[in-house]
Point group: C2
């Protein structure tokens, strides 16, 4: 145990995800001992981020303005909406440079264990956007796990009912991976989703 | 890449030791999305720690006062000084509850590769403390690695020259470990340091 505020700082860092007590201690000492680590900058950013960053009023992505940079971009294809769980999924998909449409960030996935039902997700906002009638395809890009699949199944029922074309990202073997190391579910999906070779 | 300050916050977290880009992103989003994470508290602590925490003017340990809590404690054995590299070593030794003397924190170890020589360590302050004549034993508790051993060798030459009794922490097999997994240097040290069984 350390004296007073050093221990407080260690405890506070230890509350962040993925940072155990040892890492928290290492970080606190780094901050204490590295004179060129800009502690004021980090402190200011923390406050600023909480004050300024909000969720895009259209798609739910993070932004410092009312609408995020993707929703504001007129060059994006307004007829495609890719539905994701979290803002970080938007970043992951943007990195592929394959998708030029818009996003819709649900803010999570259906998870009865965590008490998260459809009402806790940004589904009404999605339905409103689809009601405007411009959209020709909704791509469900929720995570390929239990919660993500449940959410995709729920949404696909909802969307086919209002006659919006829905698709789901392909599941299969990761590129660059070894077949023998693939788990049975992934391998099973790879079989199901096999394509004819031309 | 994210918009503006969110990316700035991710970058700033990424500059902390042991935090890669992925962890930095996870932490930033945790802060953004967890309303009950006290961002103001962390921001305040960061500034406060830099302002208030300093090094004990006697031993070099961290403290919020002129002298650290150990140097201020009259019940500690004033005739024993345990020399360590960093304040976190003090905490590690205190946890054993085996040592009731005082400490001296060098602020690092001799490391020619990193450009750290004896002059960069708090050695003059140690010599001053020894000059006061109360100390009957100096225990060298620098790390059992190349730099720590070099520092211990340097100090032991210096201290035996002024006729202060010096000891070094024992090296050997870690308690609870498996002999077969010990590296050869550790195993060699365990042989060197073997003790007669009574």
């Amino acid at each position: 145990m350390y004296d007073g505020i050093v221990q407080d700082l260690i405890d506070e860092f230890g509350r962040l995800p993925g940072i155990g007590p040892k890492s928290a201690q290492r970080i606190a000492f780094h901050i204490l001992q590295t004179q060129n680590f800009d502690v004021t900058r980090l402190a200011e950013l923390l406050t600023e981020v909480r004050e300024k960053v909000r969720f895009c009023e259209v798609c739910g992505n993070i932004t410092e303005q009312e609408r995020c940079s993707i929703c504001r971009d007129p060059r994006r294809d307004q007829t495609l909406i890719c539905v994701v769980e979290e803002p970080k999924d938007v970043v992951a998909i943007e990195r592929t440079r394959q998708f030029r449409g818009l996003y819709h960030v649900l803010g999570g996935a259906i998870s009865p264990i965590d008490g998260i039902g459809p009402d806790d997700l940004s589904i009404p906002a999605l339905m409103r956007r689809l009601g405007e009638g411009e959209v020709t395809e909704v791509i469900l890009a929720t995570d390929p796990n239990l919660e993500g699949e449940a959410t995709a199944a729920y949404l696909s029922r909802l969307l086919t009912a209002i006659e919006v074309p829905v698709s789901r990202l392909a599941s299969g073997l990761p590129v660059g991976g070894d077949l023998e190391f693939a788990d049975e579910v992934t391998l099973g999906r790879a079989f199901e989703g096999r394509r004819a070779v031309e």
